[in-house]
Symmetry: C2
Subunit: 416 residues, 2 copies
């Protein structure tokens, strides 16, 4: 197992040296070839996906996971559209970020270069195989993939078509490698490949991410949980507040930028809480509340200390009444996951204090937390949402898959 992971990581590293110097048109030609293969090999891919689903059904996979695993013609078309969008994006490689001339005449440029060899560890959704590979290739990186065990046949067929496209383009097969094993030890072996891999991007449960952070000798960009808050301030436009909280909780409860907590200023609680409670209950949301909340929302369940730290990813919300903006900010910074948090307020000063003082990847004034997303932020694509502070924080697009180098042009300068 370790040998095979090591050999694949080494192949990815070797291929990354070739991709490092590929031109934009070479990379786009490769992406077009993958898109074409995806179209022509769709029947094979759907057949393998069917086999994965039969196997998963036997093992009793949940409906939610089964939905995430499923491919159909629409979803293949979405993957193809995704590649088309990535082809259209500007190539970040070679962009000059800074340019200066030093007093000694040395001309220094800071330019974007590929990260090199990237390991991506992900769970059920097989579209990640295509999306992540396309983003890595466009940014000049080679990639070692480790997908979820439920999707192994689908992923294998997707990697096969990528390798055919690589072959057509005369590029080494190591540009995209795949750990073809459902053994969890393969993940551990992968995060020990510090000699070959430049970064590991894990997407998945908090448990998976912790396992990786504790075992990795490769730098990690964690894509962790979102325990997101909406704070309804006083004064606030109550109609807007209802729409924002409803959207943040209900529009797609299973994702990391959905709201899990509602904080309400005591002055507005009496009018606001009955209205939002009615909307949420109507949508089937289980409301938990602190003691004061339960005097207003009488059907709310009690909340425990653990609730404040929990990402439900479900139709559940915990509500707390606070005395002040300071108490709301304090609560969010203490119990939140520093992902996405919003204030609804009509007081400009309160909004500004909130976005300055809440230490999260994305902070909102009068908008839903659901916008934390590479497409919504205008990045054109998304490899994921980083929940750590190093390298990239929040939605990651092509630029976040790059490093930099300093190019210094001189005329014989030496140091005194």
């Amino acid at each position: 197992m370790n040998d095979s992971v090591e050999a694949k990581a080494a192949a990815v590293k070797a291929a990354s040296a070739v991709l490092y110097n590929c031109t934009t048109s070479q990379k786009n030609r490769l992406l077009r070839a993958i898109r074409q293969r995806l179209k022509s090999e769709a029947p094979l891919i759907l057949q393998e996906n069917e086999a994965d689903r039969v196997h998963a059904a036997d093992r009793g996979l949940s409906t939610v996971l089964m939905d995430r695993l499923t491919l159909n013609e629409t979803r293949i078309r979405q993957m193809m559209d995704g590649i088309r969008d990535i082809i259209a994006l500007p190539d970040p490689i070679g962009t000059v970020l800074e340019r200066k001339r030093r007093p000694n005449g040395l001309r220094i440029e800071k330019v974007r270069v590929p990260l090199g060899a990237i390991g991506i560890i992900y769970e059920a959704r097989p579209n990640v195989t295509i999306d992540a590979s396309s983003l890595c290739l466009k940014s000049g990186n080679a990639v070692l993939l480790r997908g979820g065990s439920e999707a192994i046949r689908t992923n294998r067929s997707l990697v096969k078509i990528i390798k055919l496209a690589l072959q057509d383009g005369g590029l080494p097969p190591g540009c995209v490698e795949f750990i073809d094993s459902t053994d969890r030890n393969a993940v551990i072996a992968m995060v020990k490949q510090g000699n070959s891999l430049d970064v590991i991007i894990p997407r998945g449960s908090q448990q998976l991410i912790r396992l990786i952070q504790e075992n990795s000798s490769v730098p990690v960009i964690a894509h962790g949980e979102g325990n997101c808050h909406v704070y309804v301030d006083s004064p606030a436009d109550i109609a807007k507040a209802v729409e924002i909280v409803y959207n943040a909780k209900v529009q797609r409860p299973s994702v990391c930028n959905a709201a899990e907590k509602l904080l309400v200023h005591e002055k507005i609680a009496g009018t606001f809480l009955p209205r939002i409670a009615e909307r949420l209950s109507h949508a089937g949301v289980l409301i938990k509340g602190d003691e004061r909340t339960r005097t207003i929302v009488t059907n709310a369940s009690p909340v425990s200390e653990d609730d404040w730290r929990t990402e439900y990813l479900d139709l559940v919300i915990a509500v707390r009444i606070v005395k002040s903006l300071d108490e709301a900010i304090g609560h969010i910074n203490t119990f939140g996951s520093h992902h996405s948090d919003a204030i609804v307020t009509s007081a400009k000063r309160h909004g500004e204090r909130f976005v300055q003082e809440v230490d999260s990847a994305a902070v909102y004034i009068n908008a839903s937390t659901r916008f934390t997303d590479g497409f919504e932020f205008g990045l054109g694509a998304e490899i994921g949402i980083s929940t750590q502070k190093l390298h990239a924080r929040g939605p990651m697009g092509l630029s976040e898959l790059t490093s930099t180098k300093f190019i210094c042009r001189g005329s014989g300068q030496i140091r005194d």
Copy 2:
């Protein structure tokens, strides 16, 4: 041990929340107070440094390390000048890096924020205690320091004066904490504080850095070794080539941006090598060479495969004759440490190919590798030189001690 490290990391985390919202003038006032205390408490600091040196002499510390350990009035003045320079630098916090308005009216800004709680692990030089603390405080970060055991008394006295300045400014003492122990287990305990620390910056031997990378659950920005190359191309200005190679090797051989390897195009070797060999030998440099080199530089020692990967940090250089620019680039990308590498050439196209294709933090055309440095690059200060590709690569100044957040201002936007 672990309890005390954990308590200190937690104190640093708590203090980081206070620094997060400090204004530039509050931070500069604090730095002025530290500078003032450094001046007034200089006799005490020098006395503690004397005690460290007596102890180190008893243990037979090498002359080089003894020099690095030593403080005197000039070096205290240099630390004071360093703080003055940091006060004069613009505060990176709050800088807007990107600003856009989405079609739905959402206004998104990407702004610089502090990283939070930083752990710094360093070796002999006590000035790092002041330099690193000042840079962290100016960029709004709290810091947990772990210095070298030889300098423990000096470091303790320096942290004491920082804490007095914090007290004067009404700031929590946890803004700068110090692991007051020479036990190496403290380093292991420190890199396990993922719940409190946002990043670990290790500066030191490759062995120390590997130990940290393999054990850390906190993201690491490694400051590792520099196995730097100068490649003398054909055609090249031989006089310039001699000056650049001599400077890169001899001006300060103990630092990471000094040249360790010399590659020479076969067409120029016959004229160039005798001249540089004479200059280097005159400066006491031991020359090692491959077979062809030794036919020209007859007093050169043989070179082993290991030599190509070795950072000497000493008056030693290994020389190889290459057939082409490609061979030189291949050698550097294979055996180098991706720190700083230079080409000396009169062919513009060769220079451009070299800087595009060599994958190092800093690449040079016709200049010494010794310029890879925060001050020389105009950053105004330097926390160190990152040898990894994630977050920061090459010299790190104040901006590299920051993260970002997205501030999104809306008017009721919800997601469809």
